[in-house]
């Protein structure tokens, strides 16, 4: 078994608000992230897949193919978008890094045939990242 990680960047805006909370509760729980005009991040996504090395190609999977899947399923949908307003997963769910990582996992996992998705790591800033391993 060998692990392969590919990194990609995207830039997006978001804000945190739960309509079931009062305005005061939203401000208290989410702080500056509750600003209704939104704010943005340079997200860095690391996708790790695992599998056996194919004896003929020497690959776990073709890196170009992984790049295309990541671009098509994630970057095209999230880059330069307002996550709350333009990405369907976040119409009724708060686009925290936790939820974004889970949404990315769900987008990628059915598209990977040869290798198995191992980890989605999403950096919101250089000092904050979330890992999702597909655990229930």
């Amino acid at each position: 078994m060998i692990y392969l990680t590919r990194r990609v960047e995207f830039y997006a805006s978001h804000y945190y608000n739960n309509p079931e909370f009062s305005a005061e509760e939203n401000r208290r729980i989410f702080g500056k992230c509750n600003n209704p005009h939104g704010h943005g991040h340079n997200y860095i996504l690391e996708v790790t897949v695992r599998g056996e090395i194919d004896s003929r190609s020497g690959f776990v999977m073709d890196l170009k193919q992984l790049k295309e899947i990541m671009n098509r399923e994630v970057v095209d949908a999230l880059d330069h978008r307002h996550l709350n307003k333009e990405v369907p997963e976040f119409a009724h769910q708060i686009p925290t890094s936790e939820n974004i990582a889970i949404a990315i996992w769900k987008r990628l996992t059915p598209k990977l045939k040869l290798a198995q998705l191992h980890r989605v790591r999403l950096y919101e800033t250089a000092d904050l990242f979330v890992d999702f391993y597909g655990e229930a």
């Binding site: 729980i29 890992d131 391993y133």
Partner: protein, 140 residues
């Protein structure tokens, strides 16, 4: 859904690696330049990883305000701009970054309630780092 969240913190401190039960020669042989009696310092980076279910109403494993507040109070304020050899836990324990890592992990695990503390990783310099996850193997 269970997710892992990692946050990085920084503090600067000095230390001297020296074991009273060793001879001066043995200390020097074991710790080299780190045995300099006047000590030396590092800009430490501490990565704290916590895990838990993503709470549906907030989308969070735990509120970062709680994690930041706890780590600042219990770890950063305790060690920042200190000589580690003068801190209680290093009176009888050499303040190697291994020992610092274990100490920080236990402090966090003992006191932080909103999520499970999975791992502490410390970068002593850009070239070396240490990880502790409670003694077992790293979860992932």
């Amino acid at each position: 859904m269970k997710a892992h969240l990692t946050r990085r913190y920084r503090f600067s401190a000095s230390h001297r690696l020296h074991n009273e039960s060793m001879s001066p020669e043995e200390n020097l042989a074991t710790y080299g330049k780190c045995n300099n009696p006047y000590g030396h310092g590092h800009n430490y980076i501490v990565e704290v990883t916590v895990s838990g279910q993503v709470e549906p109403s907030t989308g969070m494993v735990c509120n970062l305000v709680d994690l930041d507040g706890f780590v600042e109070e219990q770890i950063v304020n305790r060690y920042d701009h200190m000589n580690l050899n003068t801190v209680d836990e290093f009176q009888k324990l050499v303040p190697t970054t291994e020992n610092l890592c274990v100490e920080i992990f236990h402090r966090l695990q003992k006191g932080f309630r909103p999520a499970k503390v999975e791992r502490v990783r410390i970068e002593e310099t850009m070239m070396n780092s240490f990880e502790y996850a409670g003694g077992g193997e790293l979860a992932h």
